[in-house]
Point group: C3
Chain length 322, copies 3
Amino acid sequence: MANTPTPIGGKYENKDIVSLDQFSSKDINILFKKVGLMKRIANKAKKSEILKGNIVALIFYEPSTRTFSSFSAAIKRLGGETIDLRDLERVSSVAKGESLKDTVRTLEAYCDALVIRHPEKGTAELTSEYIEIPVINAGDGTGEHPTQALLDLYTINEQRGALGGLTGLMVGDMLNGRTVHSLIRGLSKFKNNTVYLLSPKELRLSVSDREDFQKRGIRLIEIFSENEIPRNAHFWYWTRVQKERFKNLNTYNRVKNRFILNPDLIDKYAGKKTIFMHPLPRVLEIAEEVDKDPRAMYFRHQLKNGMYVRMALLGLVLGRLK
Amino acid sequence: MANTPTPIGGKYENKDIVSLDQFSSKDINILFKKVGLMKRIANKAKKSEILKGNIVALIFYEPSTRTFSSFSAAIKRLGGETIDLRDLERVSSVAKGESLKDTVRTLEAYCDALVIRHPEKGTAELTSEYIEIPVINAGDGTGEHPTQALLDLYTINEQRGALGGLTGLMVGDMLNGRTVHSLIRGLSKFKNNTVYLLSPKELRLSVSDREDFQKRGIRLIEIFSENEIPRNAHFWYWTRVQKERFKNLNTYNRVKNRFILNPDLIDKYAGKKTIFMHPLPRVLEIAEEVDKDPRAMYFRHQLKNGMYVRMALLGLVLGRLK
Amino acid sequence: MANTPTPIGGKYENKDIVSLDQFSSKDINILFKKVGLMKRIANKAKKSEILKGNIVALIFYEPSTRTFSSFSAAIKRLGGETIDLRDLERVSSVAKGESLKDTVRTLEAYCDALVIRHPEKGTAELTSEYIEIPVINAGDGTGEHPTQALLDLYTINEQRGALGGLTGLMVGDMLNGRTVHSLIRGLSKFKNNTVYLLSPKELRLSVSDREDFQKRGIRLIEIFSENEIPRNAHFWYWTRVQKERFKNLNTYNRVKNRFILNPDLIDKYAGKKTIFMHPLPRVLEIAEEVDKDPRAMYFRHQLKNGMYVRMALLGLVLGRLK
């Protein structure tokens, strides 16, 4: 029984950001319009004062390099401060048996917003019910990772000039992959999108997710073999099969490297403008030689866009960007 | 053989803050007079420059969410910076066999003040003897936690209009509870205070603590059953029975939930203005439904007051608040 | 097959700092000329804006108190910000199997420079090849620790008035000690230096290091007994025998405390102006009573000089100090 999070409805100030479902295409455009300014701020290495006086708690119950660093840099580039709580079982009162609810209510007293990553689906939304300062979901288990989807959409729009009328390919773990789920939600808000989902049969979309997504007006086509990859798609979105989501390591070992993005596959199916995306971290599912291909977006564009999008989002949610 | 720490004597600059024993009632009033300004700074989300250019080391040898975050926010809201050293056995030279003495002498070279939490009683005072920059005790095992007691006193004064002539109730682990010990020391500085101490017999005050406190002019009444709770006390101060202080888990399990703050107990013994306090983290010793009671101070007032009191204390100790 | 890192050649901006081999004596003098200004900034407790708007990643794969805190303070005292990644196996995507290469390429997207400590020799240089922002080596296993050597040289110059024509003594683990290796490289750049190397036979310089150093024009004399210590040397440089470098703990236990710096040894061999240095952490190899000797530099001068030298280096490398 999922709750319905509050729609943005054109007004970001004081909103929690827990799911892509809160965003209309118009909301996404409002956000993206602020990104240009964020880029200029970040690139002139001149600290902005947009978040001066704001403190944001970064509370991470799961490992993270990218999302943690990206939020931290976004806040600091705008002149704000962070309080970092990582590795929580060791360094915090969680070690003394404190509940998540009490932990976040405590941080609410000191901070102006809270960014949370947690291994359990639904935790970000629960957190947003416990406290009144804005909560931003930085990944909740197999649930969602809305800022990742927003940066992915931003990158697609930047590179392909539109967010509708696209044909895409998503590869990897469709069952557990939260970045995939959030991106499908995002693409559903724009017209005439078709996405091919390539995964081992063991990792296909769950029935409930498939039904949920189909209602949204996006065309999803499940495929289970590389032969079925459509030629010349607008984007390829590769993902890691996440070891930490498997209870049975044998299953993991059987499926982990089924589909590898490599020059052969690119030659067979990609077009000249097909962009190659990945939320990172990547383990073995993209051959390193692909990194140099100008169509590869994962190091060159997605990372920086992630920082810019998070800067814009924080500025809006904290009411400091109008 | 306890040392006597230096009294504040009306002058905070460059003082170590290791024990409530250093404070006279006048010193406490000097501190509390600065808190109003701190509140205004924190609430306008406009970073102050009071601690601009100051770096404070937060060195935590024990887990902490609240105290760590509260000090961190206090410093940052005043424009200062922190160097965070947590989980020290893993990430620092303690892992290479370095002594506490050498570790803090090292930090002294880089920082302007040092906040320390440590599992062993007396460590904060020892630290203050090793180095010349101000040292603030953020909890030393079963010893003291002076900034907790100061925020507790501030909250009592704010809510009940005085710090003398009070009747209070303290519940939980009187043997090991450092927050209780510090608060008793604090209340002893004001006239005509009576505190009932409710604990399992196994966790009553030690003989030496009882003798020490009795000399200070506070009236302490030990009770071992809820029936003996005085009606209509000015404040109730509940505490967690701290698992980490027990060598024998059987003892812990026998005593941990002996006394629970719940609506029944409140109906029987509390008055309309009795305030309910807890230093947090709370595990099961306060029923969650009490959280909504307007007399419950632990989330609504104690946390924020803690940040304000720490802001004022740091500003004074670092000589930046006059 | 060691690569040759790029020489500074009088121009610090955008250079990686991985080895003392990059520095000429002139480069070292350029750096040291900036240190006075850094001292004045740090001591007036007035935050500089020299690094305002810069974010530096501190990525530590090994425990560190001193180097971590010193870099952190250096950056913050100049108005810059840090992103701290410590204990990486636990809190980052390294836990998900991400390569060092991908991790640092990620941080490059958010930060303006990267300071790295890693247990494997050569890692800092490898890192500098992966990314384009400046990389600073904060210790790479048994390899180098160039900022330590720079602060050591600064301290020798400050105390003894020159960096050439010196007679020194280095004691401890000559085989694995990276601070010793970096300092020998540094002293080689100046004329007429002689260094006595006192170590257990098991920990003497490797053949390849000895050959390498001999080519550089420094005179090295290996000794294996305290009786051979030269009288009245300009400096003594003691080091810890690093437990973490030993595969066999029996060997470690046999050699760890062979040579102890104590008042007896000082009386026998030191001169009135001989300075006593140590990179810290110290375990048992310097008797605590030596700490008070005015000739002991390790707490009084080396630590602070380390912060000043790192401030100057960061300002130069980031192009903000001219």
